[in-house]
């Protein structure tokens, strides 16, 4: 039996088997906190003393390099040196080691914390701010305690990267030939790490809460990106079965990729468009390689994140135009800025809200900051001249918002016309239907837009009233909840009655258990992560529309999620036994949910 099995969120499927290699980028924020044996106390005291000595030497050397004319600067370093030598701070750290047997890193952190409390209580702002100097010198000591950071280039052989978090900067530095898979503590389904991993085609897991406490450097691990778990120290039997599963999965993947350029048409002739959700221009290659017929959801947030300024209209227009022209004549649907909740722009500071998912986000944020919105709208319109672009507003809750957004769009189009800048006058304008209010008035909304895209991730969250990133309630995140199914059905019917197209772009679209039901509703297109396209296309090609309609009818008569799940499982397993071997995780989730 494995030493331990840790659950996580799979963001890139497949199986990776290998040695764990820890990247501790954020190591100062995650200091080891241990209690040590009595015998180890002198050792910890020595480590502390030595780290202080090294930090002192470092500062003294820096001081000696300061040119004479920068006397002021030298005096600052002097006071830093005094803080390092301070008997109070060091004494307090020493007593935490001696009395409570804490390791040196933790003891120092506690001593600093005590001091911060004292300083924080002072009225004098100047003095309170001196705490920054103290923290600065203590960070130096901490770095000496922890030792040097490992160099990414020092990776030997092929490893599985484990980290607290991987920034885009980290991922670009990684040598992909040496990496079998990723696992991180932080991150969600749509994090950059996941996108990178999917693009590279290697298994990855995020949100692995217990990663750092259960996995040690050099441990033999299996990343099961199919079931969403990490197996630490598997025994021989487990290893054998994982090796088999891995080989089967690779074989299956090769087969579905071979067929992925064929149209998504059921055996009785019903055709659905399969498009891709992407965030980066770099993903376009993966979309085309995997048989994507367009971009059903281009998440535009990325250009705004991880920077201190805002992107210029010029920068956006160039990027958007590139995307539209590469994809032409295929369709590209731009979703306007969907910030807020878990994504913020630094230029606006973080909007601290008690309920971010219910707060100033998406279209609300854009209507509140029309200048920022305008530059994006202009960039999208300019790109529309280069191919088949559509625009879509997220989080529309009612007609008033839709009308305001459309009127801002018209204004920018008037401007462009006056300036003689070319754009597509007929660019379709649609909305994301993801709020229960929009579902209820779908008929009215359908009259005033060109298409709908149902965002099931948020729709589920708001229908059931849960924050899907909250671990305590995420079990209620149930795609097959009767209310959710009815909502999707209602929106689809309303769209078709009004003669507009309807697409579905949430995770439901990449869930093999949900797709046949959605097919039964006759959505016009689905949009999903590029990696999942071949598998879903294959399911659609093997399905019969008449079966999908039957399944839908039966499902709509179920009153509980549990019943829907059982029904779907039976029906779908009967038809697609092979595919579903690799999607056990979905079943597991449903078991818990049901």
């Amino acid at each position: 039996m494995a030493r331990v099995v840790i659950p996580g969120i799979s963001v890139s499927t497949g199986i990776a088997i290998g040695k764990a290699f820890f990247l501790n980028r954020n190591r100062l924020a995650h200091l080891p906190r241990l209690t040590v044996a009595d015998e180890a106390v002198p050792h910890e005291l020595d480590r502390l003393a030595q780290a202080f000595r090294q930090a002192e030497e470092e500062l003294a050397a820096a001081r000696d390099k300061v040119p004479a004319e920068l006397q002021e600067h030298r005096l600052i370093i002097d006071s830093h040196l005094m803080m390092l030598k301070d008997p109070k701070l060091r004494g307090s750290a020493r007593s935490y080691i001696a009395d409570m047997r804490l390791n040196a890193e933790w003891a120092l952190e506690k001593a600093l914390g005590d001091l911060e409390k004292t300083f924080g209580a002072l009225d004098d702002v100047y003095i309170r701010e001196r705490m920054q100097d103290v923290r600065f010198v203590i960070v130096k000591v901490q770095s000496h305690l922890i030792g040097e950071d490992k160099d990414l280039r020092s990776i030997q052989g092929r490893v599985i990267i484990m980290a607290h978090d991987l920034t885009p900067a980290d991922t670009v530095e990684l040598d992909v030939n040496k990496i079998l898979g990723f696992a991180t503590v932080q991150g969600g389904k749509t994090s950059h790490t996941g996108i990178m991993a999917r693009t590279l085609g290697i298994p990855a897991m995020v949100g692995v809460a217990d990663l750092e406490s259960h996995v040690l450097e050099g441990d033999f691990v299996v990343i099961d990106g199919l079931a969403g778990k990490i197996v630490v120290d598997p025994d021989e039997d487990e290893l054998t079965s994982y090796n088999e599963l891995s080989a089967q999965f690779e074989d299956y993947t090769r087969r579905i990729i071979r067929e992925c350029q064929l149209p998504a048409e059921t055996s009785d002739g019903y055709r659905v468009q399969v498009m891709a959700n992407i965030e980066l221009l770099e993903e376009v290659a993966a979309v085309l390689d995997r048989g994507g017929e367009g971009i059903g959801l281009y998440r535009t947030e990325y250009s705004y994140l991880n920077r201190t300024d805002l992107p210029s209209e010029e920068e956006l227009a160039e990027k958007y135009s590139d995307l539209v022209s590469i994809m032409a004549p295929r369709r590209v649907i731009f979703r306007t800025l969907d910030l807020g909740a878990d994504k913020f722009i630094q230029s606006f500071g973080s909007l601290e809200e008690p309920n971010p998912a219910l707060g100033m986000r998406a279209i609300r944020f854009c209507l509140r900051h029309p200048d920022l919105f305008r530059s994006q709208l202009r960039a999208i319109c300019r790109a529309s001249a280069y191919g088949n672009a559509s625009i879509m507003f997220p989080m529309i809750s009612g007609l008033k918002e839709l009308r305001r957004a459309k009127s801002l769009l018209r204004d920018t189009q008037d401007e462009l016309r006056r300036e003689g800048v070319p754009f597509n006058e007929e660019m379709p304008v649609g909305i994301m239907v993801e709020l229960p209010s929009a579902v209820m008035i779908a008929e009215f909304l359908a009259d005033e837009c060109d298409f709908f895209s149902i965002g099931t991730n948020d729709l589920i969250q708001y229908s059931v009233g849960i924050d899907r990133t909250n671990r305590h309630v995420s079990y209620l995140y149930q795609p097959l909840h009767p209310a959710v199914l009815r909502a999707i059905k209602h929106v689809t019917d309303a769209a078709h009655q009004a003669g507009i197209e309807v697409s579905l772009c949430g995770e439901v679209a990449s869930d093999p258990f949900c797709v046949p039901i959605i097919m039964g509703m006759q959505v016009d297109s689905i949009s999903l992560t590029p990696q999942a396209i071949p598998g879903i296309k294959r399911i659609i090609r093997q399905a019969r529309m008449s079966d999908c309609r039957d399944l839908l009818r039966e499902v709509l008569s179920c009153r509980t999620v549990g019943r829907v799940n059982r029904l779907v499982k039976e029906t779908i397993f009967k038809r697609f036994p092979e595919e579903l071997t690799f999607f056990a995780s979905l079943l597991d989730n449903e078991e818990h949910g049901g």
Binding site: I76, M83, D86, L89, T118, F119, L122, I127, R130, D133
Partner: protein, 102 residues
Amino acid sequence: MNEARDAEAALPGEVTRRVVVTNQLGLHARPAGKLAQTAQNFKASISIVCQDQEVDAKSILEILTLAAAQGSALDLRAKGEDAAQAVESLERLFRSKFGEER
């Protein structure tokens, strides 16, 4: 009157002296550093009392927590073989405004 009481309160072998912070910025990082550095040169244990707070004169951090502004009156207390010289040196620092203003 305070001085008298303080003198009475002084323990045997203890040297006390009242000083006033005269530099404009008060006991900020640099003067506090000088004070601690000077105090560390002596064997005597030295404390600084400000209102009801007493801190170790050899700790720059403790001195900072006094947040002593210009005009604050402080008592220096030293005990040990070189207590008198210590108090003398520290008082000189206060009088010279820590060499900051001329």
